[in-house]
Subunit: 188 residues, 2 copies
């Protein structure tokens, strides 16, 4: 039932269509969560059936009507209950870390290339995060705990902190793997 909470969070900020939600998942929210429209549309229907959302239909561009969803009082209650409930962490399941764990079964040079590429990706991500952060803080709402920007900044700061920790780890991993590759070549 996790997607359900993601949808509640987004629609609690302001009404969304299924398409809107899908776009946010692909853009600004992509560092936090992701879901395909094929999962989102049925879940929105189910949530309306369960009384957490209401929808208003209007003329759509395609053959079907466009539905804009808003959160009901029951939906807001569910959201608050979940936010205060105890957090049970799950195993991270990060494939990049799994590959590092398996380094002994890998070709060191090949594996090093994977972490070098990832380091480059992280640098790009950090630049984008910095831009979003500047925008958020310029909006002047980041100190207002009732404004969405408050929470957006908190999660963005997490993304920055983790990226700043992973970048040197990737570079160090590349260094260790390259040292291994060189040493291995010299000995062999």
């Amino acid at each position: 039932m996790r997607l359900r909470h993601v949808l509640l969070v987004l629609i609690a900020e302001r009404p969304h269509t299924g398409y809107d939600v899908t776009q946010r998942m692909r853009q600004t929210m992509s560092m936090i969560w992701s879901a395909h429209h094929s999962q989102i549309y049925p879940e929105l229907s189910a949530m309306e059936a369960d009384g957490l959302l209401t929808s208003e239909a209007s003329a759509g561009p395609g053959p079907r009507e466009k539905k804009t969803y808003a959160v009901t009082d029951a939906g807001r209650r569910e959201l608050r209950t979940w936010l205060g409930s105890p957090y049970r962490p799950k195993a991270p399941k990060d494939e990049l870390v799994l590959r590092a764990f398996a380094a002994a079964s890998a070709d060191p040079a090949e594996l090093a290339a994977v972490y070098e590429e990832e380091a480059a990706q992280i640098q790009g991500r950090l630049a984008r995060y910095a831009a979003i952060r500047a925008e958020l803080e310029a909006s002047g709402h980041t100190d207002d705990p009732t404004h969405p920007a408050f929470g957006h900044l908190l999660s963005l700061l997490h993304g920055i902190a983790v990226a700043e920790a992973r970048l040197p780890w990737c570079l160090d991993t590349v260094r260790r793997l390259r040292a291994a590759a060189d040493g291995g070549d010299l000995v062999t």
Copy 2:
């Protein structure tokens, strides 16, 4: 097909029973991956059927035989291919970050308690990581890129780096939420 690779990595180190794998997932590997025995046993069977593993049966303590699996040449090839293949990152889906994102819909004091508890958990984890690190480095195999300990250290260093980044983030989040709660109480 991700569990398949996890199992290949573990069994490539040395032969394992399904039970052994399950235990490792619950203990030292828990920071990297997790799976239940109900997922592991059928997958081991399927991998044997696909020629990635061989099994040797011996008398078991219960009503069934105990099966010890080892990796075949085909399994080792599959492992190397996967380790050199391009890495496609997935959205993290961290519920703790999602809750931060939703801070505007939460009771600040209640949410702060969640991050305070998490900070305590991370501190405990860091202590355990430090102990494992000392053990690994004392083994003297961490500079040998063909020894499992080499990769184990790499992934452990990732766990340490991320935990050391998340701890101050949690504390800062608590601080911001408490400030909001106090401010809110004073105004209301």
